[in-house]
């Protein structure tokens, strides 16, 4: 729990903004509460808001939440070797509670200490604390939002929070290329039904990012090769 404290201010802000943005985008309070309590994925909740409000079918919304959350597949690929000895149920619980920050802390600790004892309990403690802080602030945000006039445009705070999440990912060439290809396609094709424009943008963006990634890897390999020949 103490290990999770440094992240608390960020979680508080993120939870408040998500709560307020959900209600101010037009979600009924009871649905906002239910989604917040069960889904527990801030970025996916914020990202799917425009789709939910636009009345997109549920599978489009779920698919968008899935893609937004794909970073966790990478996280769990690194986590699994540390947790594979535990029961299936234990691993399901560990998976549900994984968050961005708790993942980073856990990987930092196993890098230093290896398979430390009670690592599942340590992980769950940090994650549980995160979960609690997130739920309380997000519920406060949901309830407070009903008292705030919609004209303030506070739902835009949710978009800004996502922006803060996206910028660090764009500081690498492949990420920047992906975003630069994906965004204009989504804007131009926004009229297409079933959120097809969004998915066309995402697929094209991933292809661009992977291509740039491969290009950089090849260039690095060539540079290394030349270095070997010189030495």
């Amino acid at each position: 729990m103490r290990a999770a404290l440094p992240a608390a201010p960020g979680v508080v802000a993120w939870g408040l903004v998500t709560g307020v943005a959900m209600v101010k985008s037009g979600l009924a309070v009871h649905w906002a509460l239910l989604i917040s309590l069960l889904v527990y994925a801030g970025s996916a909740q914020l990202a799917t808001l425009p789709l939910i409000v636009a009345g997109q079918p549920f599978w489009i919304v779920a698919l968008a939440a899935f893609v937004t959350n794909l970073r966790f597949v990478i996280y769990s690929a690194s986590l699994r070797r540390w947790f594979e000895a535990f029961s299936l149920r234990r691993r399901a619980v560990l998976g549900y509670f994984t968050g961005d920050f708790t993942f980073a802390m856990f990987m930092d600790r196993v890098r230093r200490e290896g398979e430390f004892a009670h690592r599942d309990a340590w992980f769950l403690g940090a994650c549980g604390f995160n979960w609690l802080v997130w739920q309380v602030t997000s519920i406060v945000g949901i309830l407070a939002a009903t008292a705030i006039p919609s004209e303030w445009g506070l739902q835009f705070a949710g978009t800004l929070a996502l922006l803060a999440l996206a910028i660090p990912l764009c500081l690498e060439w492949p990420g920047l290329a992906g975003a630069a290809v994906a965004a204009p396609i989504a804007v131009l094709a926004r009229g297409l039904p079933f959120g097809l424009g969004l998915f066309a943008g995402i697929v094209a963006g991933i292809c661009a990012a992977v291509a740039v990634d491969a290009l950089l890897a090849r260039r690095k390999a060539t540079a290394q090769h030349q270095g070997d020949e010189l030495s």
Binding site: A13, L160, V181
Partner: protein
């Protein structure tokens, strides 16, 4: 509306749970190829881009990429502030201040 919202909620729970737990549950049986791993790594930034950018540049149904668009001005200022200070809270505050200033002006 309510049935659809119920399906939305259940769909989101399953979708986000799968991303977090599927590999943990599968153990070491599935190996991710480097190419798949690269695609997974860059999918979120692409998803964020397609969800953020239309919210910012589309104003009342039409694209407005000039600084007369309050959300674009707000987002650019917020992005600049974030690059400078690396603070998410600051990013939100700066962006909202600009948007509200447009409304008052």
């Amino acid at each position: 509306m309510s049935i659809n919202m119920l399906l939305v909620t259940v769909g989101m729970v399953l979708a986000t749970f799968m991303t977090r737990a599927a590999l943990l549950l599968a153990g070491q049986r599935f190996k991710l190829s480097p190419r798949v791993e690269a695609a997974l790594r860059y999918a979120p930034v692409c998803a964020l881009a397609v969800l953020i950018v239309p919210e910012v540049v589309v104003q009342a149904g039409t694209v407005n990429v000039s600084l007369t668009n309050p959300r674009l001005a707000g987002a650019l200022a917020a992005a600049a502030f974030f690059l400078w200070k690396r603070s998410m809270v600051g990013c939100i505050v700066v962006g909202m201040v600009i948007v509200v200033a447009f409304r008052l002006a």
